[in-house]
Symmetry: C2
Subunit: 354 residues, 2 copies
């Protein structure tokens, strides 16, 4: 493997000194880039793009060709695991993901296989290997998975939901069944992420998109507990370097103290909490990633620069900050505004690292 | 006006002693009730039902015939104000509310009229008068409005949104224009709620459904500030009694200290924060309303009773608690489970008021 030329991101995750604050964006390989839309059109469906390692590699690297980002993230989807479990995933324009066979009964849960990462999910590992080779040490590659609770929401609901009635119905009415499902998902995610690490992922992020819809008690019992189980089971070293783990619960700002006890290296934070408060709540033994409102990118370079300055000031001096949006970049954003954003993070952050 | 036979709800809002904790449910007049669905079918469209004072009264009172609820809430919609401003509101099944003429430019904002509550919105005041007469003092009647920020999200987006790109785009790129829109909405909401109070509403609630999608700074500047302006302008007495004001920001649990300084009598709380923490954060000079996860009602009477006990214990001893769900009841809930819920609140709460 080539030597890593830019390790700011990995250093910040481990709270080691850096020259400027590293930055990447959730969904940085995505529809706001015309070159992404061209590759996507060539690939066929969204899942066809995920399943083609060469094209997945192409779109993963596209944003790095435009912007001096400090990390690449595997192009894939959080629903690859339930898809590999045989639930029949399709993406229909305007309706989001849908499963042909939602998980509703005890038999449905007990019949779910734990996918083989080098079997049904080999296309993901092939993408990781291809991207890692093509990156050639330029920046680190992030692997990822959905959290067990987040995967369960889609699997039980059969797709996206605003109300979470079916999945919470199962959780409240049949908690033991829900625990069996979550345990199976935690086992699947652990082996999936370990395979990504073996294939070349240099850091991993667990996306808990829907942990924030739970009560504090239920978050700990049904979401955090299974992320903890995954963190405990991960290979934490590769190529002689630590492989840092990032947990991101959207809407989980109030629970950073609980998340900090999980053994993760870094917590993702959305924009509904100030980073100064987040830092205090999480304690100073863990890095934070975030947390600019992605909608700032609808404004203009001057306003974006102001907001970057505000987020940097909110985190303040000291190591352990990875700059990111608080959620994925939207499809309608002007790439020039993204350029202004990334430039501002590097230009304005140096004083915080002296 | 008839004497109020059950004033638990009003007393709890003012932190006065009660025998048991009062309870009502957001969207208690709604699709989970077969008798509601029958009236709705008779009325025509959803807005036809809102515009018919007799039928609006009928559905307002339906849940009180089934359950010993401690308050009635006017059957209406938060979007009556933008509708009365001439934006052309329609509700399309599966797509939620839609406006023919979304608000996008300075001219759009400046041309918006401030609706006359006894003119274009007279149907709402007629409904309040009809319901108040029909209630005949059984329980108090709650009036309500959307918050300026929440109304603005629908008006600028043209309907529902998950990303808030257009409304936040305006907020970040043209903050002065957004302030002009919000000020006009705050004036409209103030006169609308004062007219409801004059027509007979005995408490009012401001629904800030979307304040929780903002940063702490933007919440204060673009949502809370305008709710404060409304609270300052409300008539706070009618029939010789105080008319309490409830503010409810969904996802606003972390900002209860800021909300408590608004002069409102009560803060609505969703289930993502424990009431014990909420009480501490809000200080002890304000009542709290909430906060059971509505999805508990998908389970069974025994589990529901356990959860009611848990929410009551979380608030603890002392006055100032109005029991409610943390958000509206879902359409698929079994009314028998609702009965078990309401019964449990009254049965289990007496020890907290001795």
């Amino acid at each position: 493997m080539s030597e890593l030329k830019n390790d700011r991101f990995l250093r910040a995750l481990l709270r080691q000194p850096v020259d400027v604050t590293p930055v990447w964006m959730m969904r940085q390989a995505g529809r706001y880039l015309p070159e992404y839309r061209a590759t996507r059109a060539k690939a066929g469906s969204f899942m066809d793009l995920c399943r083609n390692p060469d094209l997945a590699c192409e779109v993963t690297i596209q944003p790095l060709e435009r912007f001096p980002l400090d990390a690449a993230i595997l192009f894939s989807d959080i629903l690859t695991i339930p898809d590999a479990m045989g639930l029949g995933l399709t993406f229909n324009t305007g309706h989001g993901p849908q499963f042909d066979k939602p998980v509703r009964s005890a038999a449905d849960v007990d019949n779910l296989p734990i996918p083989d990462p080098e079997g049904e999910l080999k296309y993901v590992m092939d993408a990781v290997r291809t991207i890692r080779r093509e990156l050639d040490g330029r920046v680190p590659l992030i692997g990822f998975s959905g959290s067990p609770w987040t995967l369960a929401t889609y699997m039980v609901e059969g797709g996206s939901t605003k109300e979470f009635g079916k999945v919470k119905g199962m959780m409240f009415d049949q908690p033991e069944l829900m625990h069996r499902l979550l345990d199976k998902l935690a086992q699947s995610v652990t082996s999936y992420l370990n395979a990504q690490i073996a294939a070349g992922a240099q850091a991993v992020q667990i996306f808990d998109t829907w942990g924030g819809v739970l009560t504090p008690r239920d978050y700990q019992e049904f979401s955090l507990r299974y992320m903890q189980q995954i963190v405990d089971g991960l290979t934490r070293e590769a190529d002689g370097r630590t492989v840092p783990v990032i947990l991101f619960t959207k809407g989980g700002g109030q629970w950073l103290d609980k998340m900090a006890a999980s053994g993760a290296d870094c917590l993702g934070v959305d924009w509904t909490i100030d980073l100064s408060d987040a830092r205090q709540l999480a304690g100073n033994a863990i890095a934070l990633q975030g947390n600019m409102d992605p909608c700032i990118l609808y404004s203009n370079p001057e306003r974006i620069r102001e907001e970057v300055a505000s987020v940097l000031a909110s985190y303040g001096k000291g190591e352990g900050h990875v700059f990111n949006l608080g959620h994925g970049i939207h499809p309608n954003i002007d790439p020039d505004n993204v350029g202004a954003f990334i430039e501002a993070v590097h230009a304005l952050s140096a004083p915080y690292h002296r």
